[in-house]
Symmetry: D2
Subunit: 340 residues, 4 copies
């Protein structure tokens, strides 16, 4: 086990510091598993961490990215949940197993892979077994790697917290990774789905994935359109992905007793909106920041049962990380994945 | 039954139009009860309706106020829930019996007494029996009249929606009517209560009512104080009564998975706050606009069992409505009630 | 409006007392609608009421059956929710609009149509407007008539109370009216459905409707089969329709933190089961007795959105009530409906 | 650290095999803490395990009992949650941290201390740090030792699952350890509490602890009395501790939409009851088997805030285990604790 492995690392914040380096194969402790990476899914957050550090206490050399598919190559002596050969995916926020999130009001928990914890853009990782869950059997490695952050965020908002029901009317803002998972999960739960986007071509593709309605938010007032499409009822659940001042629009479009899940990158943003609909319609407004491991296991189980196939806009090779990040900047339709 | 009764009415918006008038005793239909008013509790909203109409479609001559205690004097032939002699209180939003609120995403329901429906500042009212619930047996008329709006709002936020638990840490902003009900209900549920106010004297009185801590928000950073008092945990539930930009502070003070209930008068207000704690702590933020009839019945039942006594800052006589409204302007400690 | 109408009535309990009679067209009060019946769906309960009265305080001449599709022919002057020409369906338990059920611990509410209230096996009925909801637009009259009792029972158990999620594993016992609605609703919510039956032919038909697995409970141990099919996980939700000692089996088959909805006719039955799985798996066990009007409205809305088509085993004509009741005795696959 | 410690052990099932033995001080691994025991609380389950093994796969020599108070003496190098000197209590079911319970439908989890895991009737234990939570600051060691099983069971039933509200009417069956915690927790949550017992003297003591009503179940029909005391409403929550056929009575006494928590020792028992109230009142019936670690932390936090003092019927010394077990047989009023 003295072989050398490749990984992408940075010695300082800034994309120009991102280089391909070598290190010895990591060693495992009694509770760890050694995982050979087979695919890594990128999130917009990864780009922000690369570019700004997002205020996180990073350790250098820093390995970016958080979402991995891999195969267990070796297991420490105290490991009970996995054996060599098992296909696994990573969890975004290790230590949050189920129920209430860790952290305090003063110091919210934000120890994630590719942030406070090391990242996964490496041929091998050696992490505690608790940081992984079994991969779905119905997805390939690239597809499975999209579940830990984007897939789980949509599932946590719509199902774990939102308890979506057949016939509910759901608005999904945009066609990025979380949005398309939102579309697919909402359809699987029997909901009617309205997708908003500024791109006619992306709306067309969203309709092809099962969206019931597409609304071009640049050409029409999406709030008015949602109210019209729902017979004035409004949206039972809105995946508010843009953040910021869009919340005011969502408060106008939501149904009484509805739900607005605020999702997204938050560096420097404010939410704001009028109080009147917040009071008179009494919606639940909740920020969603990924979710716990048990919910990821539920999602994996559901994916296998309902046949959900994550939408990957483009697959890149390990050496093409820069090109993949550039694609992220252009706003992909679904996910960008690196295959190893 | 041809006697004349007195009521306060307005022929146009504006407090100077408020006059004491006479009308014949109202007649009742088969589903109505005739109720002799014994007390009316005032809300800040009543003042706003008087002064601005709040954009509501009022019918003139308009009778103000929404919250009444009274005694059933006569019942229509189809009435089944009440008999003459029964002590009753009114419901703020007739037609919302239980479960989801009426109205649509486009047109939220806002048909309340002393607004779209007629008000109660009258010696007698004749309303459908469905608009009333039985008064608690342990309160006098003035105390009972404070339950339909202020009491129910606090109960709906903390108990019906908030499912408060013993040991939860609750922040109550201010010492107005809803705030003091929040304090009393939270204590009855076993919570630890922190009251914020700009008045040392009111904080002292709040401590006398059972508050565990008082924070002078003018002399210290209440967020920092709440974090310190809770060992960094933060507040499990915040009754956000001020509204507006205060929400940003509440997002900093709330515990992970906590709850912020936004309560208050909404004319022209915006809420705003930083996205980061909304995402990282994932609190539920929910506007609360009074509540349904079943919850009012639950509150009445609880009041009798737990011995809750509403806090009335001052009782006025029927002829003293103007003085009572002036007191509202000065910010009472608890409720202002008119006794008939 | 002096025309005569036909209806099935009984002067005493017992099927031999069931006869076709005539009466004048009923008159409507200010809050009533006159509805021309277009279809009536039968429930096994109707047969029990005919045969035994089920201990109910019936009024004679008694008109049986509870679930109707119809068209509003006239509306009283105070009616606001319907206009002549509207297609409606009845509610099973008038007066339960939303939230908690009416009645007390001593005297549970059981005032339903075709029981304490008059039935609907009549060419016209005149009932309060509150007793109806709008019919779905995507179903014919016969299909729509199956929603108020059988459809709502399955929906209330699985969705309103059970909050079913995609990927959940559901066991549906049998292939009667409630069971097939359970199958269809669970599939619409993304669940994996296992149907049990003693008939290979009915299992085959259930698979044709989308069931994932059929288990012949006469030829194999269904508990063992459910555990095997779910990889030992057990069933997240069991629609326990048989009642009685079957509960013990369901307790063995249910997953930890799962749910068993007990549905069925209850005359004289006991439930019983071992305590060990009740404690160690901590499932929720809940009796389900139809549901409230708001949930029926939700079901109607969902039916139109998800394209659910109720399964009608056979449609009979108005004059064929006796033949329809005989079919009920033989155990239909889905529902039996009378078309007018 | 070569000193010898004392513990109670058994080489075979049966109380006569229980002897006081010596062993070397246990060593700790990197994730373990060494805890010096200061008090152990006994549960009726401990007696059953001693006498019958309860079908568990015990390891001999077997150390009995599950609930400990202690002081951390040493911590492994990887331990992060505790330091030497910290006061701790044990968790009953290690590995269940929050949310859904571990285990499967086929094999429910039942790995508890003093069962599949080693017990705590020992001067020192060396367990993983994850098996402990911080002790409340307001209780002495003996009082704190009663929380992990009896206290948490009552809390989990009434608060975590039952979401008790002020004014709810709660029936607590008996005056044992779980029952008295139920009484105290329900009172802290603002409920009205009815205690049933066969002993007038114990009822008197329960009233002294705050019970609102005591019902002698041997001298009167407790169901009838509960209905009378609640004005026919019935009990919102029943702590069904006896188990078995008593469930039929609880189904008669429960309110519509109420809750029955089934608690107790389950060896060989069946529950049974009539279907009619289960359907018509639609209560939730749920077995409760202690609870997760997060709920124990909530209980600890609540105990310190609400000033709850566990009721200890008698404190015994370490050498008096046999006398303490004999007291358990006689049915204590609250808990029996061994002080070290």
């Amino acid at each position: 086990m003295s072989k050398w492995i490749q990984q992408w690392t940075m010695d300082a914040i800034g994309p120009r510091n991102l280089i391909l380096t070598e290190r010895p194969l990591p060693e495992i402790g009694p509770h760890d598993v050694l995982v050979r990476t087979t695919a890594v899914s990128l999130n917009y957050r990864d780009k922000l961490v690369l570019e700004s550090g997002m205020g996180l206490d990073l350790t250098f050399p820093f390995v970016p990215a958080s979402d991995l598919s891999g195969i267990v190559e070796a297991a420490g002596e105290a490991v009970t949940r996995f054996r060599p050969g098992d296909r696994v995916i990573s969890t975004f926020a290790p230590g949050w197993f189920d129920g209430l999130r860790p952290g305090s009001g003063r110091t919210p928990a934000y120890a994630t892979l590719g942030g406070v914890h090391p990242g996964v853009m490496s041929e091998y990782v050696a992490f505690p077994e608790d940081w992984f869950v079994a991969a779905p059997t119905s997805l390939d490695a690239a597809e499975a790697s999209t579940l830990p952050c984007a897939g789980l965020t949509a599932w946590f908002a719509l199902i774990e917290k939102g308890q979506l029901r057949p016939g509910d009317r759901v608005v999904v803002q945009g066609t990025g990774g979380v949005a398309l998972f939102g579309l697919q999960i909402a359809k699987a739960a029997g909901a009617e789905v309205i997708v908003t986007s500024g791109s006619p071509e992306k709306l067309e593709r969203a309709l092809g994935l099962g969206a019931d309605h597409g609304v071009n938010r640049l050409r029409e007032d999406w709030v008015e359109r949602v109210l019209a499409l729902t017979g004035d009822h409004g949206a039972d659940h809105i995946l508010e992905i843009a953040g910021g001042a869009g919340l005011g629009q969502s408060l106008k479009a939501v149904a009484p007793d509805g739900r607005i899940s605020v999702i997204g990158v938050f560096e420097g943003f404010e939410v704001s909106g009028p109080v009147a609909p917040l009071l008179l319609k009494s919606p639940v407004l909740q920020g969603i920041s990924v979710g716990h491991r048990r919910a990821l296991e539920d999602l994996v189980s559901a994916v296998d049962r309902i046949g959900l196939k994550p939408i990957i806009d483009k697959r890149y090779r390990f050496a093409e990380l820069r090109e993949a990040l550039a694609h992220l900047d252009r706003g992909p339709f679904g996910k960008i994945v690196i295959e190893f």
